[in-house]
Symmetry: C2
Subunit: 387 residues, 2 copies
């Protein structure tokens, strides 16, 4: 346990109030630490740049991106294994639901090339012990009747989960507050082992907070914080993503019961239904740092969504929003202590922040108690990053 005394403001300061930072803060508080979160933003996706607010909340350990990335796959499997129990505890602690769905994911194909790619993915899932079921076109449309007639076939992954990203973040915040976590509205300008210099917000005094440990979980903004090692800062970059939220008009039955994935005209498309009738459509991946919702991206997402599920044309267009994911130079997150060990980095979760949030919180809780993080985290220590 870190020293507690009049000379520090908290045991742990967490920089960042997205799903990663808030999950860490909650679990640290549960473990008996006095915790302060430092974050400049609110929770309006139009003004707050948290990737957490823009996510679709898919929790699937396997996608095209982890073919051949065994370390990341191991971490994702660990994450999906842990998520349900973490989420159940969260819902109890917060007294609210996160919208976890367990109906799985159906990946569909429109031509032979897509089908072959799905077959490779199925083989890969089988090779690592995951279930995946090859379905013909008729069976795809029997399970999801609103899929386009042009659907050629698909693969059903029963184990994939999804969660409502905004409800999940709201639950984490409620649980953290209940556990005694305090939040300071300010930006972290500089961090060091045990110290965070603040800027902006309404908090000029004190302009510095002190604690036994500082955890930086600031997503893409981690690269902007002085005191974070240069190798970490250089490895993190914002990757813009735009998503849409559609909504069923009153009285219209829900057109999907599970997550749909597809490649449409070369674009990776996903459609994630929420229990409350929302349908999330994503997502673009752009090497840009602005958060403008563009006409072109909105057009592409709507075109692809209505190609896959024509009845989506009838849904209400509720929102288009852009966020910045924290990409890294090797697509893996960055987790572990740096320097004298009092500064801990938990950033760079790229597209997997929600899925990895539970095991990230576990790992940081272990580090704060002087223990090792789960072995799946070993390849993702900050020390791996080179200039």
């Amino acid at each position: 346990m870190p020293a507690k005394g009049a000379s520090v403001d908290a045991d742990v300061i967490v920089v960042g109030a997205g799903v990663i930072g808030t999950a860490i803060a909650w679990r640290a508080a549960l473990a008996g630490h006095a915790v302060i979160i430092v974050d400049p933003g609110g929770d309006d996706p139009r003004t707050d740049d948290k990737a957490s607010l823009v996510a679709a909340g898919m929790l699937g350990p396997v996608s095209e991106s982890v073919f051949g990335e065994q370390d990341l796959l191991n971490l994702n499997l660990h994450a999906v294994d842990r998520f349900p129990s973490f989420n159940a505890e969260l819902e109890r602690a917060a007294g609210r639901e996160t919208g976890l769905r367990t109906e799985g994911t159906l990946a569909v194909a429109y031509d032979n090339g897509d089908l072959a790619a799905l077959d490779r993915l199925t083989e890969f899932r089988h090779s690592i012990g995951l279930v995946a079921e090859r379905l013909d076109a008729r069976e795809c449309r029997r399970r999801e009747p609103f899929l386009a007639p042009s659907t050629r076939g698909g693969v059903f992954a029963a184990g994939d989960l999804s969660v409502d990203n905004r409800r999940y973040l709201a639950a984490l915040r409620a649980a953290a507050a209940t556990a005694g976590v305090r939040t300071v509205r300010a930006a972290a300008a500089h961090v060091a082992g045990g110290r965070v210099a603040l800027s902006g917000g309404g908090v000029p005094d004190p302009s510095e907070l002190t604690a036994a440990h500082v955890v930086v979980a600031a997503g893409h903004a981690t690269r902007d914080i002085d005191g974070v090692p240069e190798t970490v800062r250089a490895a993190i970059r914002p990757v813009k993503g735009q998503i849409l939220r559609l909504r069923h008009p009153t009285g219209m039955p829900h057109i999907l019961t599970r997550t749909i994935r597809a490649i449409v005209q070369g674009h990776d498309l996903y459609l994630v239904p929420r229990k409350d009738g929302e349908l999330v459509v994503g997502a673009t991946q752009e090497e840009r740092a602005d958060r403008d919702v563009t006409a072109g991206a909105t057009r592409d997402l709507l075109r692809d969504a209505t190609t896959a599920v024509p009845a989506a044309s009838e849904l209400v267009f509720a929102e288009a929003v852009a966020g910045l994911r924290p990409g890294t130079s090797d697509n893996g997150p960055v987790l572990g202590p740096v320097g004298d060990g009092r500064l801990i980095i938990a950033a760079g979760h790229y597209r997997n922040g929600i899925m990895l949030s539970a095991v990230t919180a576990d790992a940081v809780a272990a580090l704060l108690d002087g223990k090792d993080a789960h072995a799946a985290w070993a390849p993702f220590r900050p020390g791996r990053l080179r200039r």
Copy 2:
């Protein structure tokens, strides 16, 4: 002049605070009448169903729809002739600009069929004394360099105007308020010569207002008001329209200098640039009474806009919004006294509400003074409507 006495609340009650009702109220107040506007709504397009808030504000007397509708064409020509002086007076009275643009309209074609249709339109314009200039593809793109390379040719109508519908409505409201017009936030449940029964809003007492004259200018909602003649109510229907508002990102030069019209994949498309960098994209026409913005309409408008002007893909997607135009059984507006002459109808302006607002206000002001409206209005009296 109507009688003024302690027994009435005003000289004139105008039901409806869109561009038609507000223009009437302003001009009636200028003529010395005590005027009350009755309207339940605010001016948020997400909650208020005024078509005025959703319009593009194009002011062109000739479009495909008036081929062969000589009476409507005459009225439109009268309206466009009158608009600039009315608008100039309005800007002075309101102390604010309406965003009037005088750069004209360029109608473009993508194939021989479209070109032939444009040539017919050009001949028609010439036949009624309007200017219209046939341009080849090179000249179209010289004037509007961001038009798609597939543009085959076009016709330039120098006389067409456009106005920013929201700024225009705001100016009318400011001018009306300055002229002493009062607004009562309530719905008109029942009208008669000299009386308006109120419902809803925060105005239970008095639940009835009285005046020498009542003018119903409630757009599509006119059909819902008891006391309006059945023939008028039956002739008016809501026609849903969805439009988009795009915006130039900071630092991006404006991609259009004038209104562009085109037929894209059979859809009638228009792109109306605003002085402040907004670009309005319209519009759907749907025989529906809901105001849901749908995924399908948004997709179609974005697809068509970026087909006509590919660089529009880079614009910020600012807003999608739906409104209900007041269509009529013969596409013409309805203007004139009914019953004992103390009840005046000014409704059914369909797609031309902003363009016709100035001459509608003139006409009602004349009627209130016991004079005839301009001769162009003669074919549009309520009495023409039959069951």
